[in-house]
């Protein structure tokens, strides 16, 4: 059932991939609603289709069947370019690896989305700065990625993902590369920032501990989506 404060509506979505000369079904009739201001965890074994679902939601991939709506926008009816533009404006990403452009400084990396959207104004710069501050890496503003630790890199990625005020954040194993303590800290900060700003997020993760920090937990098994109760 769709309610007014549903940010993301995934409806009967299916996706298969061609592998050699065969078609492998990855997702079958997935249905998922994500509310405003909510963090959802997505778990499952390797190859279960978590990343695929993330790709579909972000518009990186096109689905075979069904529809996805983010806010008022029906993603599926958009062309590739339109999806890219939508993504640019409304979504933020954090990955497990390769989050940062190696030859840009931390500051430049964080400002990338602003530059892309042509909204590099004083207010936004202010926001960028305060994000870095909140994440505790402001003093590393002009360092380069290779000079940062894993945790610091992830925090920069988070700042970058939020700087342009997107409605939805997508994180794929954001803490997968970090040790336990750092992972928790980063996740906590992530959660705080998202909820404080009234955003929503989908977090793909293996870790039960990380998943427990989310509002709802879903898992994909046998090409289908199941909600888990905490």
């Amino acid at each position: 059932m769709i309610s007014i404060d549903d940010l993301v509506v995934i409806n009967n979505v299916s996706k298969s991939y061609a592998e050699g000369d065969q078609n492998r079904l990855v997702l079958k009739l997935i249905n998922l609603n994500i509310k405003n201001n909510e963090i959802v965890a997505l778990t499952g074994n390797s190859g279960s289709g978590k990343s695929t679902l993330l790709n579909l939601v972000s518009g990186i991939d096109a689905l075979d069947e069904g529809s996805i709506k983010i806010g008022n926008q029906e993603i599926t009816s958009l062309s590739e370019t339109e999806r890219t533009m939508f993504r640019r404006k409304h979504l933020g990403f954090v990955f497990q690896f390769f989050n940062l452009v190696p030859y840009l400084s931390v500051w430049d990396n964080v400002l990338l989305p602003l530059a892309m959207n042509h909204i590099k104004n004083a207010a936004n710069l202010e926001r960028a700065d305060s994000l870095l501050s909140t994440l505790g890496i402001r003093q590393r503003k002009f360092s380069y990625p290779y000079q940062l630790s894993g945790g610091e890199q992830q925090r920069v990625a988070i700042a970058r993902a939020l700087v342009h005020d997107p409605d939805l954040l997508l994180a794929d194993e954001p803490t997968g590369n970090l040790d336990g303590k750092t992972a928790n800290v980063v996740m906590d900060t992530f959660r705080q920032l998202i909820l404080a700003r009234g955003k929503s997020a989908i977090v793909v993760t293996h870790s039960r501990e990380i998943a427990s920090k989310c509002d709802r937990i879903f898992s994909i098994r046998d090409n289908s989506l199941f909600e888990q109760t905490q």
Binding site: I60, T84, F97, F98, V101, Y103, L104, N117
Partner: protein
């Protein structure tokens, strides 16, 4: 958005300085060659044009004779009709100690010069030439200060020279300082003397080389009056026409040089493509990230394109600067060749034009954009998130690559063939076709790789090799390009060496046929571009009276006017055309040709027939003789390599009768005892030294001289060849290095599971060896094809020479050795790199 892309572009380039340097250097090398070559050619041409036009001055017409100049009387007669005429004598002067390229002695009448050439004018030089100085002293000449400094003389000094084989002491009556660069250019090659001095030096007392005329274009009346007093054998021609003919001669040579430099650029571009390809893989994650964040494919493509533009521009600029530098050195070499083959030019300075710079930059930038095109497209196709997880394994559809390339290859090959057939005379078309063939063979590389790999897999024991082969195949998009680059260089080596060898062999066998004498006597430093000097009568008398001589055969060479333009005519006595293979075409069986020639017909050499579009013997041409225009039938077209412009052959007796000229330029002496040819040569030289400075050579020395000229001509080509090899070798190494870095994790894994260091190095070496061998295998047929094209098509269309193809099989062995050497050397550094790292380090991700 564009500024963002721009900034990303800049920063990424700065982040990979080694790549940037490699890219820019590759482009710079190719561009520098194009620019350097262009400068060398343009300088020579410009120098020649300026000198010619300064020599021609403002003359609208010239009165010339055929072969013998114009009688003084004609000048006196015309002087009654108009005073706007000037007598001119031109002679080659060799300045002792200043090399084999002669300077021009210009003999003029200062009183008649004013309307034609300015240098007697005070506007021309800072001081006017003293007419008294020029007229009153024996052998008095005037030089520019530049030339005087070069010779180390001043006003009042004497200058040792040789003119027509005779030594003289010139008296430097005065030196002048030209007012500007253009006039200075002219005076760098030219020594000015009074016409009486010129006549005395050249031993031509009653004739002038030409009479310059200045006539209003509308003044037909004066031209008619002049025409009426001209005797038979003398005609009036427009100055403009003569200069143009000379320029056309060198076009073919220039085109060839340009093509070679382009080839070097091509190899460099392969390198660029390869380097870019590798860099693209390394940046996959970065591009994926940007795509995720919302950059469109088009924007990513633009980013790479912009990078290509920057690299191209940077490389081109460096290339232009370096090329200017190279141009200076190339100028000497090119002008030497031009002097040997076409016209004498003394250019010492390289002259730049804006067009040259523009040419270099355009090629550099365009080349760079072209080379980066495919990698850029590939990058644009990267799906977002593709490079962001470790799970993605790129499965190379090498099957598809092979079949696509094969298709391209066949298509290009057909196009090239079509071009060759469709444009049978065009040199440019044949060069483009050659390029097409090269590209077609490059596209075969994937197929060749696959075949080699298949063959290796049949040999069971070679696991290391097999492993390397498999990896090669799967990395085909990356490895094919450096292989192609090496293949092209190897094929170029084969092609060029083959062509030079073919040339050499053809000329040697031709010389064998044609050189009948034991000893040859001529005036030294002659060449196709020089006006041959006449042998002194006393020399002939000496030879006739010599007891060692069994028989003498004479040769006369002069420039004549024909209805198809000016040409060199050679009149000889011997029938050295006994070999039926000497003729391309004849109206009677080869054995009878000489009879026809004795009877009054003429022969023309192959390059001349080509130039004039004469395809069959039996056609007739008109020659201007002192008795007027006469028509001559062409009895045969014969092979001749002495001149790139071609000559008309006539029997000496007929020539002497028609032109009333008993002088000769060369004598072949058949000795009673031919083993004594060396001694006799040396002795005669000594004895005749006081009469005339001569070249007296035994037969085999002639051969080596001709060969020397040929090797000089091809020296530039040879250097380019080696440069191309060097560039390709660098390409192989860099690609190997990149590959190794790519596969570093894999090697780490292998090490972790137990492979020894040596085995890893062996792996790398095997890959390198395989790449090189595949390149070699494909280079062989391409090399043969290129030789064929160069020998039978390009050379023919450029000069009109038919050569016999001669390809030494040891050449293939040499290139194989070269290949193995390249493989070994290029694997050293990458191996060394892997040897440094420990397994765990190798397994860690490099960011």
């Amino acid at each position: 958005m564009n500024s963002l892309l721009g900034r990303l572009c800049f920063k990424s380039l700065r982040y990979q300085p080694k790549l940037l340097i490699l890219l820019m250097t590759s482009i710079a090398i190719g561009v520098s060659l194009i620019v350097g070559m262009d400068i060398a050619i343009q300088s020579s041409n410009l120098a020649f044009e300026r000198t010619t036009s300064s020599l021609t001055g403002k003359a609208t017409h010239q009165i010339i004779g055929s072969g013998q100049g114009v009688s003084d009387q004609v000048y006196f007669e015309i002087r009654k009709i108009t005073q706007n005429i000037a007598p001119v004598m031109k002679e080659d002067v060799y300045v002792v100690g200043f090399g084999k390229i002669p300077f021009k002695l210009l003999g003029v009448d200062p009183f008649a010069e004013a309307p034609f050439r300015d240098y007697f004018d005070s506007q021309y030089a800072k001081e006017s030439i003293s007419i008294e100085a020029l007229l009153t002293r024996k052998n008095a000449v005037v030089l520019s200060n530049t030339l005087a400094n070069r010779f180390g003389v001043r006003q009042g000094s004497s200058l040792s020279v040789v003119v027509g084989g005779r030594p003289f002491q010139l008296f430097v009556a005065s030196t002048i300082e030209p007012r500007d660069k253009i006039n200075d250019r002219f005076l760098q090659d030219v020594i000015v003397a009074d016409i009486s001095v010129a006549k005395e030096l050249s031993n031509r007392f009653d004739t002038l080389d030409q009479i310059d005329v200045l006539v209003d274009r509308d003044d037909q009346e004066t031209l008619d009056k002049i025409q009426n007093v001209l005797p038979k054998g003398v005609q009036v021609v427009l100055s403009a026409n003569r200069t143009r003919t000379i320029r056309e001669m060198t076009k073919a040579f220039e085109t060839n040089l340009f093509a070679l430099s382009l080839l070097a650029l091509l190899v460099g571009l392969f390198l660029v493509w390869s380097a870019m390809s590798f860099s693209v893989i390394r940046r996959k994650s970065e591009f994926s990230l940007l795509r995720c964040m919302g950059l469109t494919s088009k924007q990513i493509f633009l980013m790479i394109a912009f990078q290509a533009l920057l690299v191209g521009l940077g490389g081109a600029l460096v290339g232009v600067l370096f090329g200017a530098f190279m141009g200076k050195f190339l100028v000497l070499s090119v002008s030497q060749t031009m002097s040997d083959l076409f016209f004498v030019t003394h250019v010492r300075q390289a002259s730049w034009t804006f067009a040259t710079v523009l040419k270099g930059i355009t090629f550099g930038v365009l080349g760079s954009l072209l080379a980066m095109l495919l990698p850029a497209l590939e990058v644009a196709r990267i799906r977002p998130r593709e490079g962001l997880s470790l799970k993605t394994i790129e499965v190379t559809q090498y099957g598809r690559i092979i079949s696509k390339c094969l298709l391209v290859s066949v298509f290009v090959l057909l196009l090239s063939a079509g071009l060759l057939i469709g444009q049978p005379k065009s040199l440019m078309a044949s060069l483009v076709a050659a390029l097409g063939v090269i590209l077609a063979f490059s596209a075969i590389i994937p197929l060749a790789a696959w075949i080699v790999v298949r063959m290796l897999s049949c040999i069971k024991k070679l696991t290391v090799l097999e492993f390397a082969a498999w990896r090669l195949l799967h990395a085909l998009p990356r490895t094919a390009i450096p292989m192609a680059a090496l293949m092209v260089s190897l094929a170029t080596v084969i092609g060029i060496t083959g062509m030079v060898e073919s040339f050499r062999e053809t000329v040697v066998s031709w010389l064998d046929q044609r050189l009948v004498g034991d000893v040859y006597i001529t005036v030294p430093n002659q060449g196709p571009s020089r006006a041959p000097a006449v042998l002194d009568e006393k020399v002939i008398a000496f030879l006739k009276s010599s007891s060692e001589v069994s028989r003498l055969e004479y040769l006369r060479s002069i420039s004549v006017e024909t209805n198809l333009g000016p040409s060199q005519l050679v009149a000889f006595e011997n029938n050295s055309f006994k070999n039926p293979k000497a003729f391309l075409q004849s109206i009677v069986p080869p054995k009878e040709v000489w009879k026809k020639v004795l009877g009054g017909d003429i022969m023309i050499s192959e390059p001349l027939a080509f130039r004039w579009g004469i395809k069959k013997a039996g056609e007739a041409i008109d020659l201007l003789t002192p008795k007027g225009w006469r028509s001559f039938k062409i009895a045969a077209i014969y092979y001749d390599y002495a001149s790139s412009q071609g000559v008309i052959g006539m029997s000496l007796s007929n020539y002497q009768e028609l032109f009333s000229d008993m002088r000769v330029n060369a004598v072949a002496a058949i000795l009673k005892n031919s083993t004594r040819s060396s001694d006799i040569s040396t002795n005669s030289l000594e004895r005749l030294k006081s009469i005339q400075v001569l070249d007296i050579k035994p037969n085999r020395d002639i051969r080596s001289e001709v060969m020397e000229i040929f090797s000089r001509t091809f020296s530039i080509t040879q250097s380019l060849k080696w440069l191309a090899v060097f560039v390709a070798f660098v390409g192989i190494m860099s690609s190997l290095l990149s590959q190794t870095i790519e596969n570093i994790r894999e090697y780490g894994l292998l090490r972790a599971i137990g492979f020894r260091r040596g085995e890893i190095s062996l792996q790398i070496f095997c890959e390198s060896l395989l790449m090189s061998l595949i390149a070699w295998v494909v280079s062989v047929p391409l090399g043969v094809m290129l030789t064929y094209i160069m020998v039978y098509i390009i050379n023919y269309r450029a000069f009109g020479w038919t050569l016999q193809m001669h390809l030494d099989k040891t050449l293939f062995l040499h290139t194989l050795l070269l290949t193995i050497l390249a493989a070994t050397l290029s694997s050293i550094y990458p191996s060394w790199k892997t040897l440094q790292l420990r397994p765990m380090e190798m397994l860690k991700l490099d960011q």
